[in-house]
Amino acid sequence: MDEHANHDVLIEGVLNGEWRATARAISIVEDLRPGRVEILARLYLAGRSSSVCGITGPSGAGKSTLVDALASRYRDADERVGIVCVDPTSPFSGGALLGDRIRMNEIVVDPGVFIRSMATRGSRGGLGRAAREVISIVEATGTERVIVETVGVGQIELDIAEAADTVVVVLVPESGDGIQAMKAGLMEIGDVFVVNKADRDGADGLLIEIESVLALRTGQEWSPPVLTTIASQGQGIEELAEAIDTHRQWLVSSGEGERRRRHRIVSYVKEIVLDALATGLWEEGGYSDKLDESLQEIMAGRKDPFSAAEEIVSASRMLESLNMDTD
């Protein structure tokens, strides 16, 4: 089979905004199948035009409903929307249950909406990289909007902050108790804050609490707005859409967008390099065997891990070439 020709068709399909080709390209990237580097590289050069918005928050905050409502709002303006929903992979089985579509009834049959559920897998490079690559494929389809939904736990939301232009943190009155105690992370990455289910008891209190926490965020030019929504009734969605756009404009006018982009490219290239080095070392260079040899000695208390690493690093300097496409 001529893989190359196949990828031409696929890449063309993605660029034409065909969902099936897009879906397949994402699978190739997720599965680390042959051709992924070629696909990513060519789609990367096709340029980016989308506004990438990350939506994160604790489970039960109504994120999927909010995404549903926001996407409907974009569709009303005739903008195409790509949605990537990220959920954790089970560390025990490697499987995942991806249930975000349940709450997206409004948009699941809209031909102008592409939804992809993605498990963290965590094979390499962290979620930041995998998600960024999936997002870049969706962007290449020419959708005006890309929304990335993630559950706000652990490392995931920090990774998403890396990948998105604007991060919307969604909270609900029930999450009020723990704002102060909540991981600094969630409160620090938000560019826009949303109190969803704002008709519930405690919404006002939460609002005040968020604002007081945000007041401690000093030395930043952007002061994140705190909005209220009732996503299930579409309330506050317009304001949210506006806040996202305002933030995006600020990114451009302040130069912050440029800075973030530069940072992102640098860390992406570094990741790719690290990855290639690691693959070259452990998988192709046969250094896993060398590590195994040292392992016995370290276990026996005759060698320390630093010396073992030093040996591997020195030896690896003799690696002549690295294969970038680490298929």
Binding site: S64, T65, L97, L98, G99, I102, R103, N105, E174, S232
Partner: protein, 561 residues
């Protein structure tokens, strides 16, 4: 012969405890045939129960006498010696004519109450000719799209002579209005009607998932029916708070018990908030439980349910009328326990389950037909199921004495354990903000899904044996049960009738009645009288629900993973 008094006096608790320890010591090294001995709900059971299992047990406080607080031993003083349970077989399929025929057949064979199953479109408030109804009309029950269908369904049945149960939830208020309108048109006063509407939306969100509107307006509709019945249909049970479906969805017995009671208390609180007096409506609340395979676990569940309910109604809600404290319930044998393989074995399962329901003191009973995992029950299978109840009632002798298992160390300690585990669940639900917030957070759904998955894993690993399915299997089994078929012709007949009705009726009257329904739904007036008017104007179910959907909105399940 041992003197009774002497027998009690001679062995004190400490003697028993000492002997018991010795006994445990002696048996602990004996080989056992299984690693764990678990109930249907995966609860481990001890090898032996003795008086020491009942520390702190107080007969008068914990059991009392039948028909007396806390009603553990039964809600009536003489129970089945005074009146047998109602043998109520759930029936419904195809068009109203088809089910009407089945109703008459069951009444002729000695059934004493009717129970109506509606098809899925009706349960979701769609007319039979709606696009969403395609493929579903008449399949899981009878299609009722208008008062006309209701009139055909009960044709030749005297409404004030029969008690009618209707399994309907989302659109229950409307279907109840159809029934009331039919009675009024026949000149039968509403206060002569007896029966039950299931009308339990909370368990729909929790387990059965046939919901239409969001929780708040759904609760309002239910409380409207509660209020209406309290005033105008005093012999009607407006809600049957149902654990049946919670169990079918895979819950444990304790979850069934706890979630159902929590739902019940939520309805009570909603009605109290409306300003109703507890003793005005509580006597008409009824319950509906599952009867699964694990005989003792089920019996303990019913007994615990009665006791928890009576205690709460008295202590928390301050009910004064003793009738407000009675948990009366209907029981249905567990559909999910039946097997498609060797279906005749289901007759035996149903017998054990029905017996548990009876020993648990049920007020009415539906016994499943052996062919229900294959399709809707055939006449023959439904008759065998009814005969099963009759044999228990008349041949087994279990009705001779009230609550015969009371005092069993095992049954009483199991009853206590279920009560305390249910109380733990009540606390967790309370912490989540109550039943509706817990639903919206997916709490019940996740608890149930977890229990269902555990049960499946026990089955997959053969720890849990199901006869004919993973043990005692017959290879190349051919199933020889005649299966009732729902034909396309039934669907066509129904759609044709509905379209003819739309042609025939007075359109102005329909519009006017629907506008009234819209107005009342947007306000706070009780919607029931207006629904009855809409029914009489032959507004269809779908038309009324459409209006309500516009006012109330729709509900979507929370994502649960």
């Amino acid at each position: 012969m041992v003197n009774k008094e002497q027998g009690q006096g001679m062995s004190g608790k400490s003697d028993i405890r000492k002997d018991e320890e010795r006994w445990h010591e002696e048996v602990k090294d004996l080989a056992e045939i299984r690693e764990r001995f678990i109930t249907t709900s995966s609860e481990e059971i001890d090898p032996l129960y003795t008086p020491t299992s009942l520390d702190g047990f107080d007969y008068l406080r914990d059991l009392g006498f039948p028909g007396e607080y806390p009603y553990t031993r039964g809600v009536y003083k003489n129970m089945y010696r005074g009146r047998m349970w109602t043998m109520r077989m759930f029936a419904g399929f195809g068009t109203a004519e088809d089910t009407n025929e089945r109703f008459k057949y069951l009444l002729e064979h000695g059934q004493t109450g009717l129970s109506t199953a509606f098809d899925l479109p009706t349960l979701y408030g769609y007319d039979s000719d709606a696009p969403d109804s395609i493929g579903e009309v008449g399949r899981c029950g009878v299609a009722v799209s208008s008062l006309e269908d209701m009139e055909i369904l009960f044709d030749g049945i005297t409404l004030d002579q029969v008690s009618t149960s209707m399994t309907i939830n989302g659109p229950a208020a409307i279907v109840l209005a159809f029934y009331a309108a039919m009675a009024e048109k026949q000149g039968i006063a509403l206060d002569k009607l007896s029966g039950t509407t299931q009308n339990d939306i909370l368990k729909e969100y929790i387990a059965q998932k046939e919901f239409i509107f969001p929780p708040a307006p759904s609760m309002r509709l239910i409380t409207d029916t509660v209020e209406f019945c309290a005033h105008d249909m005093p012999r009607w049970h407006p809600i049957s708070i149902s654990g049946y479906h919670i169990r079918e969805a895979g819950s444990t017995a304790v979850q069934e018990l706890a979630f159902t009671l929590a739902d019940g208390f939520a309805y009570v609180e909603d009605a109290l908030e409306r300003g109703l007096d507890i003793d005005e409506f509580a006597p008409r609340l009824s319950f509906f439980f599952n009867a699964h395979n694990d005989f003792f676990e089920e019996i303990a569940k019913y007994r615990a349910a009665r006791r928890i309910y009576a205690r709460r109604m008295k202590e928390k809600y301050r009910a004064k009328n003793p009738r407000s404290l009675l948990m009366r319930f209907h029981t249905q044998t567990a559909g999910c326990s039946l097997t498609a393989q060797q279906p005749e074995n289901n007759i035996v399962r149903v017998t054990i389950q029905a017996l548990a329901g009876v020993l648990g003191g049920t007020q009415s009973l539906h016994t499943n037909s052996m062919d229900e995992t294959l399709a809707l029950p055939s006449d023959k299978a439904a008759k065998v199921a009814l005969r099963t109840q009759q044999i228990i009632a008349h041949e087994s002798g279990v009705v001779n004495t009230i609550d015969p298992l009371a005092g069993s160390y095992f049954i009483e300690s199991l009853t206590d354990k279920m009560e305390s585990e249910a109380e733990e669940y009540f606390e967790r639900i309370e912490k989540l903000g109550g039943v509706i917030p817990a639903i919206e957070k997916g709490f019940f759904q996740q608890e149930i899904a977890r229990a269902a998955y555990r049960y499946q894993k026990e089955f997959d690993s053969d720890e849990r044996v199901i006869v004919g399915v993973n043990r005692f299997v017959e290879e190349d089994e051919k199933i020889e049960i005649p299966i009732l078929e729902i034909t396309e012709e039934m669907h066509e007949r129904q759609v044709t009738r509905l379209r003819a009705l739309r042609e025939r009726r007075d359109e102005d009257g329909v519009k006017e009645a629907l506008a009234e329904v819209r107005r009342v739904c947007s306000g706070t007036e009780n919607v029931m009288p207006f629904l009855i008017e809409a029914a009489k104007a032959y507004c269809t179910l779908g038309e009324i629900v459409d209006v309500m959907r516009e006012v109330f909105g729709t509900y979507r399940e929370p994502s649960m993973f």
